[in-house]
């Protein structure tokens, strides 16, 4: 039994103090996800907080045991979408590109970032969840609300597009 399962089991039994550990366990992953999907750091931080609060509030309705990470990312994705909607009229910060690209350690990494950014939205999210968040296909399927086979085929298509672009560059 993984630590996540142990904590979820304890919470289900009524030991709600385990939420703190569970939140700490995923805090960094969700922050990273929200930074990637938010216009600025402040919005990302708010999105993280909102995500965890929503997850705790809606946990009694959560039925599919064993897919908690998928459920968590689905809530985070919806929260980030809402944040974008709210911030639609606000101008994006000037240092956003710096935040996204400025820490790449090699040219190859910068290129990959551009290539992923240029992917169609439905492919980009799957590549990001697979490579940056290391979610399983089942978890990605739950987070994006698609069948596992569709996720697999979309990932294949995305990697093919990246490969084509790399060959084009060479």
């Amino acid at each position: 039994m993984t630590r996540e399962n142990e904590l979820l089991h304890q919470i289900k039994k009524g030991d709600t103090s385990c939420w703190e550990e569970l939140v700490s366990l995923y805090y960094e992953d969700i922050l990273r996800y929200c930074i990637y999907h938010s216009p600025d750091l402040e919005t990302a931080e708010d999105a993280v907080q909102e995500t965890f609060l929503k997850v705790i509030r809606h946990f009694p309705k959560y039925q599919d045991r064993g897919k908690f990470r998928g459920f968590l990312y689905k809530v985070a994705a919806n929260t980030c979408t809402d944040q974008w909607r709210r911030k639609r009229e606000v101008q994006l910060p000037e240092d956003m590109e710096f935040m996204e690209m400025g820490y790449a350690s090699s040219e190859a990494q910068v290129n990959f970032q551009y290539m992923v950014r240029n992917l169609p939205e439905e492919l980009r999210e799957i590549v990001y969840l697979k490579f940056a968040q290391e979610l399983t296909f089942r978890e990605i399927a739950m987070a994006v609300g698609l069948p596992v086979r569709t996720v697999q085929s979309r990932l294949r298509r995305a990697l093919k597009l990246i490969r084509c672009e790399m060959e084009g560059e060479v």
Binding site: L31, R32, V48, R57, A108
Partner: protein, 277 residues
């Protein structure tokens, strides 16, 4: 793409983590990140769901907690129905209640019993309409327990109304309490049995209002029968033995129908996810 390229892609997309970690290593930003993390954890701790873990309350505690919500509605509607009956009667007799003779009392008690059932049907079917998901989540009680609690509250009210009516009947017309109970209970059981059966049989109907309409129609019909009997064969009301036999026959049917309805409600609860947590 080879393994190395996959690794590059993974690292490229994971850079945001490095952003966070580097931020933690630097003074002001590190403090901000730690404060933010603490803010999230504190907001989690402050959530009522985390602060006060859900304690499963017992059935009777649950029932008493229903009084300010459903009990009040039930009692108000039934009390109003009883008041309307007495009001109409009082006004039609110009305040001279002594005019009420033994001949009038059975019809009055019967109509009153049917009206009590009629007013309770919309409230009893309310959990079907709204699924009462919030209550189920908050209390961890299933649908059949919710209905049982409502029925107990309902019976309490019926008992009070009956006590009051029987008191008037005994005091004014000199009718015995046993006879008053008979004239009240038989229509009540007949209406209750019919409505429970109708609710069960129309379980597949999506529109709750149609089911309510059907039950109200049945109760209306029953009231009409009582009225027709009163007009055409008033002698029936004098046959106490017939009323006793009918009550003895109908009572088990009533218990059986309500029991089966509650049992079926458990299955409805299971289908809609409203089971005991």
């Amino acid at each position: 793409m080879d393994r190395k390229q996959y690794e590059e892609l993974r690292n490229a997309l994971k850079i945001d983590v490095k952003v966070c970690r580097e931020m933690e290593d630097t003074g002001v930003v590190a403090r901000r990140m730690r404060a933010q993390r603490e803010r999230v954890l504190q907001s989690v701790r402050d959530l009522p769901a985390v602060q006060m873990p859900k304690r499963r309350i017992g059935f009777f505690e649950f029932m008493f907690r229903q009084i300010p919500f459903m009990g009040r509605d039930l009692w108000m509607s039934q009390g109003s129905a009883a008041l309307v009956v007495f009001g109409v009667l009082y006004l039609s007799l110009c305040g001279d209640l002594a005019y009420l003779s033994i001949r009038h009392i059975p019809l009055m008690l019967g109509i009153l019993a049917i009206m009590l059932v009629m007013t309770s049907i919309p409230l009893l079917l309310r959990p079907y309409r709204y699924q009462m998901h919030e209550i189920e989540l908050a209390s961890r009680q299933s649908l059949w327990k919710l209905l049982t609690a409502e029925l107990i509250l309902l019976m309490t009210e019926d008992l009070v109304v009956f006590g009051f009516s029987a008191g008037i009947a005994t005091g004014i017309a000199g009718l015995s309490a046993v006879k008053a109970a008979m004239y009240f209970l038989l229509p009540l059981f007949l209406a209750g049995t019919g409505c429970a059966q109708l609710i069960r049989r129309t379980g597949g109907w999506e529109e709750v209002s149609q089911r309510i309409g059907l039950c109200e129609g049945y109760c209306g019909l029953l009231a009409m029968v009582l009225l027709i009997l009163y007009r055409t064969k008033p002698v029936v009301y004098g046959e106490t033995g017939v009323w006793v036999i009918c009550t003895v026959i109908v009572f088990p049917l009533f218990v059986l129908s309500v029991g089966t309805w509650l049992k079926d409600s458990t299955e409805v609860g299971e289908r809609t996810g409203m089971v005991d947590a």
